[in-house]
């Protein structure tokens, strides 16, 4: 039963990943693309979580943690880059 639910979840997540890639390609402005990349990271995290539940091993949970932290760092630095007009670091 959990296998069927996981397969359905994989299909839904793959569709949302395709939609995010579509936004990443056609996105008119840079903030659209940044949000698309952040959403792609979230969808991949959800895919790893569903895979871990389906196979019932806990070995990839650390990968979820690492991926979420790196996505957070990337999004924050892109937000600062966009907010300050081209300067990530500094005052």
């Amino acid at each position: 039963m959990i296998g069927l639910a996981a397969n359905i979840a994989f299909i839904v997540l793959a569709v949302s990943l395709a939609l995010c890639f579509y936004r990443l390609i056609i996105g008119p402005s840079l903030p659209d693309r940044v949000v698309a990349i952040d959403t792609i990271t979230t969808v991949i995290i959800a895919m790893i979580a569903v895979y871990c539940m389906k196979e019932s091993n806990a070995i990839f949970y650390d990968a979820i943690l690492v991926l979420s932290i790196l996505g957070f760092v990337g999004t924050v630095s892109m937000a600062k880059f966009l907010g300050k007009g081209g300067r990530i670091f500094g005052e």
């Binding site: 760092v73 924050v76 300050k84 005052e91």
Partner: protein, 140 residues
């Protein structure tokens, strides 16, 4: 420009990141983890501190020599580990392990020489990421 929410979150998150990177560094022999991802986690924590606080607590731009020292010493450690394999094992980067008796917890601890190599990789990744960040943050 930096918001109070971001600074308060970084105060909580970055020590957890450092602890998590040590965990990843130590478990990386049999399980997912290792030097590269541990160095990446440490440098993510340092980048977050730099993004939140800038140079007001710690002058990153004038301490870049320390991070150069960090990654050159990491390269040296990894290379010397390879040379030790050449000496005792017969070929370059041959790894070995030993069981070390720990006095306090009274258990045998399996020490692999690949852990030293991983520590060198950790220093290289950490130093390269932080010095890259300080180079990007330099003013003209």
């Amino acid at each position: 420009m930096n918001s109070l929410i971001f600074r308060s979150i970084i105060k909580i998150v970055s020590p957890i990141l450092m602890l998590f990177s040590v965990y990843l560094l130590l478990r990386g022999h049999q399980l997912p983890g290792g030097g590269f991802i541990a160095g990446l986690m440490t440098s993510a924590g340092l980048v977050l501190i730099y993004l939140a606080y800038g140079c007001e607590r710690f002058d990153w731009r004038h301490r870049s020599r320390f991070f150069y020292f960090l990654f050159t010493s990491g390269l040296t450690i990894s290379f010397l580990t390879g040379l030790a394999g050449l000496f005792w094992g017969g070929f370059f980067l041959k790894s070995g392990f030993a069981h070390v008796h720990m006095p306090l917890i009274n258990e045998d601890w399996e020490f692999a020489s690949a852990a030293v190599f991983d520590f060198g990789v950790y220093l290289v990744v950490c130093g390269v990421c932080v010095s890259l960040m300080t180079m990007l943050g330099e003013e003209e």
